[in-house]
Symmetry: C2
Subunit: 202 residues, 2 copies
């Protein structure tokens, strides 16, 4: 494996776990199997290395998620498919989400820019979920509601439990957020809750 690649992998691991301030260049070098000097040879400084990792993490998560979005079905199926894929992507990346959300506070502008870039790269103008919800309301697929609040709810239900998984697993003993069956179960629970909440009156 190329040295640069080894560094990237090591840096990701350390940054995700300890954050920028807690990470040590020495530890990254150790885990990459090189020394500090070489680390600085490839990436001028800790700042440069961090920014690179930070950007990569966001882009990768966004790419995974946006690639699964499809407009081609009715809202109920769209909702379920989106949430299921969302959870499948987020669940194994609990550390990434936690890390990004913590660090993003200090780099708000960059963060939002990376999001916008991802949207554009996938051909979306603006938030694709908002768009789909708005259309569903217009076409009477669901009851009128506030699209933004609905998106906030979907994001919260999907992201939060997995982001806080290590803690949640200790509060609700017996849960295993890495178990595939649990992930699928949770996806259908979220979908059902939302669908019941927004489906048109009969």
């Amino acid at each position: 494996m190329k040295t640069e690649e080894k560094i990237i992998i090591a840096a990701r691991r350390i940054f995700r776990e300890k954050g920028k301030d807690g990470a040590r260049m020495q530890e990254i070098a150790d885990q990459a199997g090189i020394n500090k000097a070489l680390l600085h040879y490839y990436f001028r400084s800790k700042d440069v290395l961090f920014d690179k990792i930070f950007k990569q993490e966001i882009q990768e998560v966004m790419h995974q998620i946006l690639a699964t979005i499809s407009d081609q079905t009715d809202f109920r199926n769209f909702l379920y498919a989106f949430i299921r894929e969302y959870l499948r992507n987020i669940a194994p990346r609990r550390n990434v989400i936690r890390f990004v959300l913590w660090e993003a506070d200090k780099k708000k502008d960059q963060f939002v820019n990376y999001l916008s870039e991802s949207f554009q790269e996938h051909g979306f103008s603006g938030n694709p979920i908002i768009g789909r919800i708005t259309r569903a309301i217009e076409e009477g697929e669901i009851r009128p509601c506030d699209p933004v609040n609905l998106v906030l709810s979907i994001l919260g239900m999907s992201i939060f439990p997995f982001m806080a998984a290590p803690i949640m697993e200790r509060i609700f003993t017996g849960l295993d957020f890495t178990d595939q069956a649990f992930i699928e179960h949770r996806a259908s629970e979220i979908s059902a809750l939302i669908w019941n909440g927004v489906k048109p009156e009969v």
Copy 2:
């Protein structure tokens, strides 16, 4: 104001914003209007100071939240009252939540212990929300569902958007997570969504 108090206030501010690793004893001393030596005189080390703050933050949030829980009404009102009070407490503490969730990963056992202590102090055995949901299901107030998943959803919808407020406000321009009207609106949106999702079939 007493010196110790000034230190606590300053330390909270700094730790919330920058985390344990990012915080500097010098900055805490500066903001408390004293010097480093005196800071170490009151709290032996950074570790000791941090643990104290970490514990206080958790206990205070939990106390505020648990104090508002009342079992005395039907589930729909219980739900709305709880979420409304929950948001009112969480919204002005976005930094605390973000900080606690970030740091709790390294101190999982302490964190869960503090939670348990808070539950007990308020006379709850186990998670009070789980208990209320279970009762509601038994008594036919709501449709049968998985209480744990429902709690995860409630927590996610409530905590996540506010925890990520600075970012969300940039993604969904125009939102103001500190605005009282928005908070109340969001509380009723969450309640409505959940209630529609779990209310018994007519």
